[in-house]
Symmetry: C2
């Protein structure tokens, strides 16, 4: 976390910052079922358990007002939180919006932003029940979502067991591909944005979907650990393994790479697998399941939601390895999207 | 809300922005007991009601890192949210912290910030159970607090009835006086900060306290409407009257003005009553009570918490008036602290 720079400590990575914060905040509270360190907090308000999560999007860091429309930004701000609640096995119920606005933002932009949040809220059966608006010199959208989960049914990231299969919903790398298009030079970007695959990648980046029903199905299938893939498969899987005290072996040929990345690879010379492993912002689910439960869960998720469930490897006792097409094992780098890096 | 400026609509006041946002977000949800527009949201998660609120502090707007210590900023960030939960008649239980940090912030500063939040959380019997940290170019601290309130016991701001007495806890204007010291020229500011009254005013600004127990006592006393005074007595009372569809008559001589403002008035030529009415950030409670309940509530609040409860006037059918020492009624200006003004 800390880098010596003229004698001062500077915050450098999010995970290390979080570890430091946890030390300050760790508390003995019998009402806290899952404390800081998972996708969301679970607290016991009595009859059932409540899921609480917050995620912040900052202009220039998580989105770019000159590229993303206000409606999409709002939709995404809600979606990323719903994804966290879903990844705990919970149902989203209520949301709060804290919005910081520079003086020059037009009212129409703000209304479009809330319109996008409202659309996402309706889609995920969530009520936005409050919030706060403040002045700042840049747009900061911070959304809190509270959800419900049946007592004892919260899907933590710490329960993965050696022998479990590792599964992933949907396809990976598309959101990172879309970011690549946004950040390419304007003429080339416009060309790519005009293609079907370019639009798909941009949509993956600007309009991700949360996997609420899929998560519920995975919980019913007996998932031992689950989380959403917000910072890249490799980094998030590494976090799951660390929390569970286990290792993992990923078969690279089985990682579901977004097919729209093929044309981007031709145009930009990128490696689709690199984006799928380390790109981040896909908001797909990563889960550990008993191997015998995978086939049935995949069939149900396909039938109910049209979403594929890919088996990408297995939980192991230790080590963090990738198996290449040559059949050889190599260490998998736990590298991904880190706002603080 | 909107100002014609080169044909664009610009957001100008917080209340008008909120009114516009409410239109976009209004939802029919039987689980939402109190929607957007009160101190906090109340939602029904089944067996009991949950209070949810979020407040954001922005460096340069709500605090100044060159003046306020990180510990105080953290303490205040939690306190202002607890104050909102208390003002609903709820008990704070769980908190989430969303923190945006510029790259140059020292780790020690961040830890002090969380230390301050932790101290406030402990004081208010609140568990900080999660959050989010992101990069930005200025410090933004957004705290969400969830609390409990017994079914049917939430103290809204919309229940004030003509004939009710208006009561206020503690003393008003101190926080605005502290801000005045912070914003005065450095030499003069340092002189004032060295006095007892200067320290008291600075403490009111930098270290406000939430009135949790006092709020509970007021609910037990049968309060018909309650809110915290975050934006100044006049503006917040006006909000209560608007929400309740009533008027108010405030007896200016009975408004509890912070006694530490006397010396500040001598030094700076300010009007203490002006700060008490329109200054904001006091986080005292404003409540409407049946007149016959005031004496007993005041005695209990004094005995239990050492806090005074002042009767400052009455709820009326209509009009928004102040009675001066000359016995004359004049209109009271609903003016206060507005980050968007």
């Amino acid at each position: 976390m800390v880098r010596a720079l003229s004698g001062k400590e500077i915050v450098t990575t999010e995970d290390e910052l979080l570890a430091a914060i946890r030390k300050v905040l760790s508390a003995e509270d019998p009402g806290v079922i899952v404390p800081i360190g998972d996708d969301a907090a679970v607290v016991d308000p009595g009859g059932h358990h409540t899921v609480l999560t917050v995620d912040t999007l900052v202009d220039g860091v998580h989105f770019d007002r000159s590229v993303a429309g206000a409606h999409d930004i709002g939709f995404k701000a809600v979606t990323v939180n719903v994804s966290d609640v879903a990844a705990m096995g919970g149902s989203p119920r209520y949301g709060l919006v804290a919005l910081a606005l520079p003086p020059d933002v037009e009212l129409a932009w703000v209304m479009e932003l809330y319109g996008g949040m409202r659309q996402a809220a309706d889609q995920y059966a969530l009520s936005l029940v409050g919030g706060d608006t403040v002045r700042s010199d840049r747009v900061v959208v911070s959304v809190t979502v509270m959800g419900r989960v049946a007592e004892g049914r919260a899907a933590r990231r710490s329960g993965a067991r050696p022998g479990d299969a590792l599964v992933v919903t949907g396809a990976l790398g598309g959101a990172a591909g879309g970011l690549r298009i946004i950040r390419s030079d304007p003429a080339q970007g416009a060309r790519m944005a005009g293609t079907d695959w370019g639009r798909e990648l941009l949509s993956a980046q600007l309009r991700p979907m949360a996997r609420v029903g899929e998560a519920e199905t995975l919980v019913q299938a007996g998932t031992s650990a689950m989380m959403d893939i917000s910072d890249g498969l490799a980094l998030d899987l590494w976090r799951m393994c660390t929390a569970s005290g286990v290792g993992a072996r990923v078969v690279l040929d089985q990682v579901p790479v977004d097919p729209a990345l093929g044309p981007l690879a031709d145009a930009e010379g990128i490696d689709p697998l690199e984006l799928a492993l380390h790109g981040g912002e896909d908001y797909e689910l990563l889960a550990a399941l008993p191997p015998e439960a995978v086939e049935d869960a995949a069939a149900k998720i396909k039938e109910r939601f049209g979403t594929t469930l890919a088996s990408i490897g297995a939980v192991t006792e230790r080590g963090f390895m990738a198996v290449g097409s040559d059949g050889r094992e190599r260490p998998l780098e736990p590298r991904g999207w880190d706002h603080f890096a």
